[in-house]
């Protein structure tokens, strides 16, 4: 609760700061402080000390998984602010407002992570989505940004409609919005409502996490949005929606896996296929990362597919690994003059440290051992294998992982093995230090994932 409250309040603080502080660049500092406060609040959450210690008649549920997940998200936010804060300020004239919106989104994420009522899930997702539409269109003069915002908005609203339809049918079947009181069984009188409800909610959530065939907005929006916000969307927001997805399907629909598992499996396979295969041909790193984020979503779908304890661990680790790597890469990408792969040619000679960090990030995304990405993939795949069925899906997934190596390594090849003169904006030593910290974290999680996962067991 602390986190939701603090982020909502800090959003207001940011808004008012914008009113009273003329200096644009203070925004980043205030935001970082806000992120730190959020972190503190979240840690208090974790230890059970909350400002309002209530679950609001079962609207929220404070399970350690959700709270730990929020810790990861807040940490990612901190890194994001530190690495990309400057770039956020440079998007437009409303730097304080951008930060405010992101804090609002954080409170929405808090709701999504901790909801126990479909209404909270719905409102949480809307609180996450609506500011995102705005952030996407933040660069008002940019037609691409406009286009992205419009597409995102229209499709988002459409998917909201579908989700609500699903919720309505679910209510029709059970008479409740409380996730823990759904008590779903397969032999209800209203099974048909149940099935329609589950499928529609699944589809709309799949849309939010950009799973195929509901992914179409992703490449366009990620490409069109200002690069810093793409980073935010692709990492933090996506991970957050996944936690809601998993919570709902695990706590709510966990008893009727037979009804939806095949559908999820098909979505997973399609997502992996389309994400990976389409990414192969992309020339722009930004757009390639958009497709890659679809592909990564495919892997995260395994957690939802499996709904067991492994998938919790897997998703937690995946979120950490994926957020870190994405934020790291985008932080560098923002500074690049040329977003195409050729733009990276010869970066290793000019900026060996940055190239190394980017390499580590890409290796992590590709799931190479010794990076966090490996264990992330390992756990979600293990979760899927644990179900004992659909082994073909796992095999398909690893084949697609190999495809992903193809396009991730193209950037590495460009940086290290190709001659070129990549141009990059000036970077401070602090920035580099932070990047290295990201890389170190990735490798640390890759060698000893239990640093993170032990928490799940200890608390």
């Amino acid at each position: 609760m602390n986190l939701i409250l603090i982020s909502a309040l800090w959003g207001i603080v940011m808004m008012f700061s914008g009113l009273f502080i003329a200096n644009k660049s203070t925004a980043k500092t205030i935001a970082v402080v806000g992120a730190l406060v959020l972190l503190a609040g979240n840690l208090f959450d974790l230890s059970g000390k909350m400002i309002i210690d209530s679950n609001f008649n079962g609207m929220l549920q404070y399970d350690k998984f959700g709270l730990l997940f929020l810790t990861v998200i807040v940490l990612a936010l901190l890194f994001y602010f530190l690495l990309s804060g400057k770039a956020i300020q440079e998007v437009g004239n409303h730097s304080y407002e951008y930060f405010a919106l992101m804090f609002f989104i954080m409170s929405g994420i808090g709701l999504v992570a901790l909801f126990n009522n479909l209404l909270i899930l719905f409102i949480g997702i809307e609180i996450v989505s609506i500011p995102l539409y705005i952030l996407t269109g933040a660069d008002k003069k940019n037609l691409k940004g406009n286009e992205a915002a419009l597409k995102y908005f229209l499709m988002g609203a459409f998917s909201t409609g579908i989700m609500l339809m699903g919720i309505a049918f679910l209510y029709g079947a059970t008479g409740s919005f409380q996730v823990d009181k759904l008590n779903l069984t397969a032999n209800d009188n209203f099974t048909i409502f149940l099935v329609i409800g589950v499928v529609m909610i699944m589809i709309s959530l799949a849309f939010k996490v950009s799973a195929a065939p509901f992914h179409f907005w992703t490449p366009d929006v990620y490409d069109g949005a200002p690069t810093v916000f793409t980073s935010f969307m692709a990492s933090i927001v996506k991970a957050a929606v996944f936690i809601g997805f998993l919570n709902l399907f695990m706590n709510g629909f966990g008893t009727i896996t037979g009804k939806w598992q095949l559908s999820i499996a098909i979505i997973t396979a399609l997502t992996l296929f389309i994400g990976n295969i389409t990414a192969v041909y992309q020339q722009s790193v930004k757009r390639m990362l958009a497709y890659s984020s679809i592909a990564q979503a495919g892997f995260m779908m395994f957690a939802i597919f499996a709904v067991n304890d492994m998938s919790k661990q897997g998703l937690l680790l995946y979120a950490a690994a994926y957020c870190l790597a994405t934020i790291g890469i985008f932080a560098v990408l923002v500074k690049m003059k040329d977003f195409t792969i050729e733009g990276f040619n010869g970066l290793a000679k000019k900026e060996p440290l940055i190239a190394l960090v980017v390499t580590v990030c890409f290796l992590s995304l590709a799931g190479i051992p010794l990076t966090a990405g490996f264990f992330a993939k390992y756990f979600v795949l293990a979760a899927a294998i644990k179900t004992g069925t659909y082994l073909w899906l796992v095999i398909f997934a690893v084949l697609m992982a190999a495809v992903s190596v193809y396009y991730y390594f193209r950037v590495i090849q460009a940086m290290y093995f190709k001659e070129g003169n990549s141009e990059m904006a000036e970077t401070s030593s602090g920035f580099k230090g932070l990047l290295v910290a990201v890389a170190v974290l990735i490798i640390l999680l890759g060698v000893a994932p239990n640093l993170l996962l032990n928490w799940l067991i200890l608390y």
Partner: protein, 652 residues
């Protein structure tokens, strides 16, 4: 000391002589190492002395061993050196077996080998010092390998020597490595030997499977219990090995090409020792062959065919060494004929006599070539008898010996084989007739060679004539010794016909072939028949010799052969045949595999996967049309599909 004490100490020494058998191959190995490693620092004379000296040392030890084996009641002794392979219940020690057969071969190898080493010290004197040392190193290594071959107490050690001599043959044929032709010949020899070796190896695996051991004693002891068919397979596979090594049809074409090596090498390796390894091997495994009559027949037939084929080719060859080479192939064929008809002793006897007279002939040829400044074409020789008297007389002795005129050695050994062939059931008479025809041709082409070389008038250039001279003593002394041996060696095997119990060699070797002798049915030829056979063959041979001498002394053949002769001169076009049915298709297959199967096929498939993925990427991205309407349509279709799917599952 009493007599008994003396006797005891003598026996101890003698026993230890057998135990010291490892010295025999060790000396050449040491010589090889010294000459090989120190080739840059050794003077020519020193490397020559080392090279020959180590062989002499081996010869002396071999003599002592031979002496020991002659003792009455001597039984085969195994000397274990160390454990080589002991895996999976298969124990193959590095062990030597000393018995009459190996002792005899030791003598031949080290004895003839020593003479040839001495001969080489002079023959090769034009070489640069380090090449000279390299030559002796190779030669020593060869002797070492050959000794391993004959000394091994099991088939694996024999195989080690077997491949080792193949290697040395390769190295020595290609000794003048600058010449690509020679290199090709060397490769051909090695590869053809390898083909045989594969057969040999498979034979060994059959033996392991059947008998669980490769040690001669075990194998031979268990052989009598084995089925005929399995023995036939084993013996045939072993015979494939022998075909390669001993240049039998169809693997004989390497041997004439092998004449690219220095002449002493041809004498030692490609006449006296290595090529007889196949005979040694079959003689060694005689019991297996005796138990497998089908294989035996095949050995005889192949031997006979080779003998006659090679003899026909030799009729029209003009290269002095080529004639001798085909003659070797032909003589080897006789030996296999002997083995095939069960005349093991005869075959070994012929190996021995052949070693003497063929080495002699090659060395004589070497002496001629040496004198003629590396001219080998007999059409450009003639009338050398006066200029090279020692060479001439010794060469003549060799010719007579190989032609089979009594009492020269060749007569006894060849006759023994032919008589046994005649006695063989059921094709004895055919064997004999064809064999005799071969013998006639042998006499004919040998004396054609002799006449063209030594008789008539000199047909070479003036300069060559000017430089003609007799070879130095290092070359002539071995010639003389070998000529002596070629003349008298036959007396160790005087047939029953002339003197009862005079076949000393047979008595000596009897223990080796005892098991076979016990089994084989003998069809003794009556003395009368034998006399008739002898008379016929000697008469015919003498006639053909006289005809050859008469014809080629006066009117030497200097032109190119025509008609049927051309086919013979071109060796029945066998090389061309092999080229067309094996080499070319194999290369074609390789090129095809390289270009199509590998690049387009397998790699194309692998790259195709990558290309398909890229293509898929290009196509799939078109889904991303940029139109919101389309995106929503896809979404709605997705909704529909998942709906139908979910409901289908529900209704199931």
């Amino acid at each position: 000391m009493t007599y008994f004490q003396l006797r005891a100490s003598y026996l101890t020494i003698m026993n230890s002589i057998i135990d010291l058998v490892y010295l025999v191959p060790l000396f050449p190995l040491i010589g090889f190492l010294i000459n090989g490693l120190g080739r840059k620092n050794l003077s020519k004379s020193l490397s020559g002395i080392i090279g020959s000296g180590v062989i002499l040392a081996s010869f002396i030890v071999s003599l002592l061993i031979f002496n020991e084996t002659r003792a009455e009641g001597f039984t085969a002794t195994t000397v274990n050196l160390f454990e080589f392979i002991n895996v999976a219940g298969l124990n193959i020690p590095f062990a030597f077996q000393v018995d009459q057969l190996s002792a005899l071969f030791l003598l031949i190898i080290t004895g003839v080998g020593f003479l040839i080493h001495v001969y080489s010290t002079s023959y090769m004197h034009e070489e640069a010092p380090h090449h000279y040392a390299r030559y002796f190193a190779y030669l020593n290594l060869f002797v070492f390998s050959m000794l391993l071959l004959v000394l091994g107490a099991n088939y694996l050690i024999m195989f080690i020597g077997w491949e080792g001599v193949g290697l040395c043959s390769y190295l020595l044929i290609g000794y003048w490595f600058k010449n690509t032709e020679y290199g090709n010949a060397a490769r051909k020899a090695f590869v053809m030997n390898r083909i045989g070796d594969l057969g040999f190896l498979l034979g060994l695996f059959f033996i392991i499977q059947q008998f669980g051991s490769l040690t001669y004693i075990d194998v031979f002891a268990r052989a009598q219990g084995a089925g005929t068919s399995i023995l036939t397979v084993i013996t045939l596979l072993l015979f494939v090995g022998a075909m390669g090594k001993s240049a039998q049809i169809p693997l004989y074409t390497w041997l004439p090409d092998a004449m690219a090596g220095p002449t002493p090498v041809s004498a030692l390796i490609h006449a006296a020792t290595m090529v007889t390894a196949g005979i040694y091997m079959i003689a060694r495994s005689n019991i297996l062959y005796t138990l497998a009559p089908v294989s035996q027949t095949l050995v005889a037939v192949i031997g006979l065919a080779t003998a006659i084929l090679a003899a026909t080719i030799a009729l029209k060859q003009n290269d002095i060494k080529k004639v001798l080479a085909y003659s070797t192939v032909s003589q080897l064929g006789y030996m296999f004929l002997g083995l095939g008809v069960g005349a093991y002793t005869g075959a070994v006897f012929h190996v021995m006599t052949h070693a003497f007279f063929k080495a002699l002939l090659f060395l004589g040829a070497g002496s001629v070539i040496h004198a003629m400044h590396h001219e080998q074409d007999i059409r450009k020789m003639g009338g050398l008898a006066k200029k090279l008297p020692v060479t001439h007389w010794t060469f003549l002795a060799g010719c007579i010996a190989i032609a089979g005129i009594p009492p020269f050695s060749g007569f006894f050994s060849k006759d023994e084989i032919l008589v046994h062939a005649f006695a063989a059931e059921p094709f004895g008479i055919i064997y004999y007739v064809i064999g005799l025809a071969g013998a006639l041709m042998t006499a004919f082409y040998m004396f054609r060679l002799y006449a063209m070389t030594f008789k008539g008038t000199f047909r070479g250039t003036h300069e060559q004539e000017h430089h003609l001279h007799e070879s130095p003593w290092q070359m002539t002394v071995p010639l003389i010794i070998l000529a002596f041996l070629a003349v008298v060696a036959g007396f160790v095997g005087i047939p029953e016909l002339f003197a009862a119990d005079a076949h000393k060699l047979e008595h000596y070797l009897a223990p080796v072939f005892a098991a076979s002798t016990d089994i084989a049915e003998t069809h003794p030829v009556s003395h009368e028949t034998e006399y008739i056979l002898l008379a016929v063959s000697i008469t015919l041979i003498v006639v053909s010799i006289l005809y050859a001498l008469n014809r080629f002394s006066k009117k030497p053949e200097t032109g190119e052969a025509e008609g049927f002769g051309k086919i013979l001169a071109n060796k029945w076009y066998v090389d061309e045949l092999y080229n067309n049915i094996i080499t070319k298709p194999l290369n074609g297959l390789g090129a095809f595999s390289n270009r199509f199967i590998e690049k387009s096929g397998i790699d194309g498939l692998v790259n195709g996967v990558g290309k398909t993925v890229q293509w898929g990427g290009r196509q799939l991205r078109l889904l991303q049309s940029g139109q919101v309407g389309n995106y929503v349509l896809w979404m709605v279709l997705g909704v529909l599909i998942f709906f139908v799917l979910a409901i289908t599952i529900l209704n199931k």
